[in-house]
């Protein structure tokens, strides 16, 4: 991830959270946090607790992030932020928490003076991880049309260019879903699970083999022992934790989009 990308990310993040960007230089940014963001990021509950008890004047922090230390003024005071820095990951976590669920409407103009019908789409962005003693992830975005039942892959990228708004626009109306959200979620779940069924799972077979190998060694090591010691059972559990193949599905975010029939092209 490039520093420029991080810089842009920070700007978008703070603006979206109503924090004023006091300075936006190529090498660094300074932002004035709101009270909410101070509580979210600065980790000083005692200060806020004290302030609320004494009804003092809140003084949320200003932070400077240095995104390009080489270009930054030499005496610049601020936090260096880079991919892997704890602060960046804190902000990413915070982003995910604040935007786990959304509901948006396509912002369209009325055509021919008629009211626009908007179709409900249920969408999920998920991370699928193959995990044994190693791990790899794939990203998947799916959308389900709650009227037709159509399922579309790569939904997120398709919806990105669409102009959306949190309030239903004038001259638009939403169609009621034929598929209830709950069963919609179940359909998407099934779809996602089937998607990797036919994937190459030699990784899991190989992990099982490594597991079996180590198990054989373990048995051999404790062979002479009539009554197995506790460490034998601990080791056995450790091997399971180390090697057992697992597929994890974790939802990044998702929600409902009401879109016209032209929106997704």
């Amino acid at each position: 991830m490039q520093q420029q990308e991080i810089h842009d990310f920070l700007i978008t993040f703070f603006e979206a959270n109503d924090c004023e960007v006091l300075e936006n230089a190529p090498s660094h940014i300074t932002v004035q946090l709101t009270i909410e963001m101070d509580k979210e990021l600065m980790n000083r509950p005692f200060y806020w607790h004290y302030l609320e008890k004494t009804s003092g004047i809140p003084n949320p922090a200003q932070i400077t992030f240095i995104t390009d230390p080489e270009q930054a003024p030499p005496n610049m005071k601020g936090e260096r932020i880079h991919f892997g820095s704890p602060r960046l990951h804190q902000i990413i976590e915070s982003t995910k928490r604040l935007a786990g669920y959304t509901r948006l409407f396509e912002d369209t103009l009325p055509s021919n003076g008629r009211h626009n019908p908007l179709f409900p789409w249920l969408t999920l962005n998920v991370k699928i991880s193959y995990q044994c003693d190693r791990k790899k992830d794939t990203f998947m975005s799916v959308g389900l049309n709650l009227i037709s039942g159509e399922i579309m892959e790569g939904f997120h990228n398709r919806v990105l260019p669409v102009k959306v708004t949190p309030k239903i626009p004038d001259y638009s109306f939403t169609l009621s879903p034929l598929i209830m959200p709950k069963s919609g979620l179940a359909r998407l779940d099934t779809y996602i699970r089937t998607s990797f069924e036919n994937d190459d799972h030699s990784w899991a077979e190989e992990a099982m083999e490594r597991w079996q190998n180590d198990l054989n060694l373990l048995e051999h090591f404790y062979k002479d022992m009539d009554e197995k010691s506790e460490s034998y059972f601990t080791e056995k559990q450790a091997l399971q934790a180390q090697y057992e193949p697992n597929i994890l599905i974790s939802i990044i975010n998702g929600g409902l989009f009401y879109l016209s029939d032209r929106a997704l092209g």
Binding site: M1, P86, I92, N125, H156, P181, L218, F221, Q242, N253
Partner: protein
């Protein structure tokens, strides 16, 4: 094949809840950002290292990256890191740990290191790797913190022991793991009973004496990898260290152990420049030395008597204070000392009192002023340490003391003072696991230890990875004394001071000399004439030289595993 699928329905539940309450809903900009950032964090391959991308301020050396990759890809996260001293095992361990944490395979971590290294580990993991490692000081830390550093000695004791066994650790690191070579110890038993999903054992000396040591070490990591105890000892017992030449065993060990040698890493080490400074006694100092040389506390000709005479002689080369301290102890030791003995002692006390100056200290002062930079002085004796501190103070030079017996916090503090404001650090004990002082490159050996390993450890404090300057070593030896003999006859002959770190270690273990110091005392103390001593010393140094050439040949021939 059927693979477990885990999925948490929390998201679904909350979503349906929000549907019912009509919100609140997340902002579109943040929603897009969350996806964008998560896509960045996706790890598309099982292979390769992610950690370096997360650590732009760290520049690992090629052999360190290679080691990390090998542990993750080939060794399934269980390995013995056995690089020679000073090649950065901590960096390798940090990289591996970071990799697993980034990949989300590790959360709960236990790091067991010698007490003196606890804060250093915490500092390095936090600053170099952004791993929030916490030093265990209160017992709640075990449960409430994810990455905890402690000494084994603390961890194995109640109540910690039981708390630790109840934690589900994903990753365990043990530094100075050669201390676990004996499977009969409490420490070994403790580590054996830990649940080791991923595990790193760090040691510079995987085998010190017996081949069983490597068996016990590997069996901690991967029980059964080298067979079980009965079979192993049938096959290899009593064959000593050489058994490691056994191809089959070597191959097996190499699948769980990484050992980089200095010669293979291609790192340019800064040089060691050694200067021997011969000092002449003042007349009163000479008188004291001569007096203690004649002194035989127990005149039965046993080893003990030559031992104490030698001790006093060595101390006289250091400071009168050191002599005084020992004499005082001798006097206190006997309940009813003979008249004769007391008279002799008093005579010596007299000599101590008459000693007017310390020629070495004067030389040291002169040198420190000339160097005009940070200097470490090593001495064998606490009395000398105290005296030197006083003496330098009198001459307007501030110094801090350092001793093995200091508590961890005090050691850190002294190191910090020395680094930030004080010119001189006076240490009595190098300690194999002491502090790292690579910000300093002048070292004065005020007196010489008789065990080359101790000397090596002294130098190792400053001549290590991270040292950017050539290291200057000044050896003080007093003319016509035992000290000069040791320096001239032994250390200079085996080129001890020019050796790179760790080499000597290998050589001495090969020779199987367990107690060099005792051997030397024997040579120096029991030789009837100077000629006899010279011959014995010569033999000894040739032996070391021989082992040295053997080792060099071996390096060339070695196929190695790195």
């Amino acid at each position: 094949m059927k693979i477990n699928i885990s999925f948490s329905s929390d998201w679904n539940d909350e979503f349906l809840q929000k549907m019912e309450n009509d919100g609140p809903w997340g902002n579109w900009e943040l929603y897009k950002l969350a996806v964008q950032m998560e896509e960045n964090l996706i790890i598309p391959d099982f292979e390769g290292l992610q950690a370096p991308k997360h650590l732009p301020q760290l520049t690992p050396l090629p052999h360190q990256l290679e080691a990390a990759k090998q542990v993750v890809e080939k060794m399934n996260g269980k390995a013995i890191l056995a690089d020679e001293v000073g090649l950065g095992k901590t960096i390798e361990a940090g990289l591996i740990l970071k990799e697993y944490m980034i990949r989300g395979l590790v959360k709960k971590v236990l790091i067991l290191v010698p007490a003196s290294l606890v804060s250093q580990w915490a500092f390095e993991l936090n600053t170099k790797f952004h791993i929030p490692a916490v030093v265990q000081r209160k017992s709640y830390v075990w449960e409430s913190c994810d990455v905890v550093i402690s000494s084994i000695d603390t961890a194995k004791r109640a109540p910690h022991r039981d708390i630790i066994f109840n934690q589900q650790y994903d990753f365990i690191i043990i530094d100075e793991a050669h201390k676990l070579k004996n499977n009969k110890t409490k420490n070994y038993e403790f580590v054996q009973n830990l649940k080791k999903k991923f595990c790193l054992l760090l040691t510079a000396t995987p085998i010190q004496n017996k081949v069983e040591e490597i068996f016990h070490l590997v069996s901690l990591l991967k029980p059964g990898h080298l067979g079980n105890a009965t079979l192993f000892s049938e096959k290899y017992k009593g064959k000593g260290r050489n058994v490691i030449e056994d191809e089959h065993l070597k191959e097996l060990v190499n699948t769980v152990m990484i050992r980089n040698r200095r010669a293979d890493t291609g790192i340019e080490w800064t040089k060691r420049q050694v200067e021997t400074i011969i000092i002449e006694f003042s007349p009163t100092e000479q008188a004291l030395y001569d007096a203690v040389s004649k002194f035989k506390p127990i005149s039965d000709g046993s080893k003990g008597s030559s031992f104490s005479a030698l001790t006093l002689q060595r101390e006289a080369c250091s400071s009168r204070e050191a002599v005084f301290y020992t004499l005082k102890n001798m006097k206190a030791k006997y309940e009813q000392p003979s008249h004769d003995f007391l008279a002799k002692l008093d005579e010596l006390f007299e000599k101590v009192n008459e000693t007017e100056q310390n020629s070495k200290a004067e030389k040291a002062l002169e040198l420190i002023k000339k160097i005009d930079d940070k200097v470490i002085i090593f001495t064998e004796y606490r009395a000398t340490q105290l005296y030197l501190q006083w003496y330098l103070q009198q001459n307007g030079i501030s110094s801090v003391p350092f001793r093995g017996g200091f508590k961890r916090g005090k050691k850190d503090w002294m190191r910090e003072l020395f680094q930030k404001q004080i010119q001189v650090l006076i240490a009595t004990e190098a300690g194999g696991e002491g502090i790292n002082l690579q910000f300093c490159h002048h070292l004065i050996n005020f007196d010489l230890p008789w065990n080359p390993m101790r000397l090596e450890q002294r130098i190792g404090r400053i001549h290590r990875l991270g040292q950017e300057e050539d290291v200057m070593i000044y050896n003080f030896a007093t003319k016509n004394t035992v000290e000069e003999h040791i320096l001239k006859l032994l250390y200079e002959k085996i080129h001890l001071f020019e050796k790179v770190i760790g080499e000597l270690d290998d050589i001495l273990t090969k020779l199987d000399i367990t107690n060099i110091e005792e051997y030397l005392i024997d040579v120096v103390g029991e030789s009837r004439t100077e000629g006899e001593m010279k011959i014995k010393m010569d033999n000894f140094s040739s032996m070391i030289q021989f082992a040295q050439t053997m080792k060099e040949g071996e390096i060339h021939a070695a196929t190695g595993n790195s």
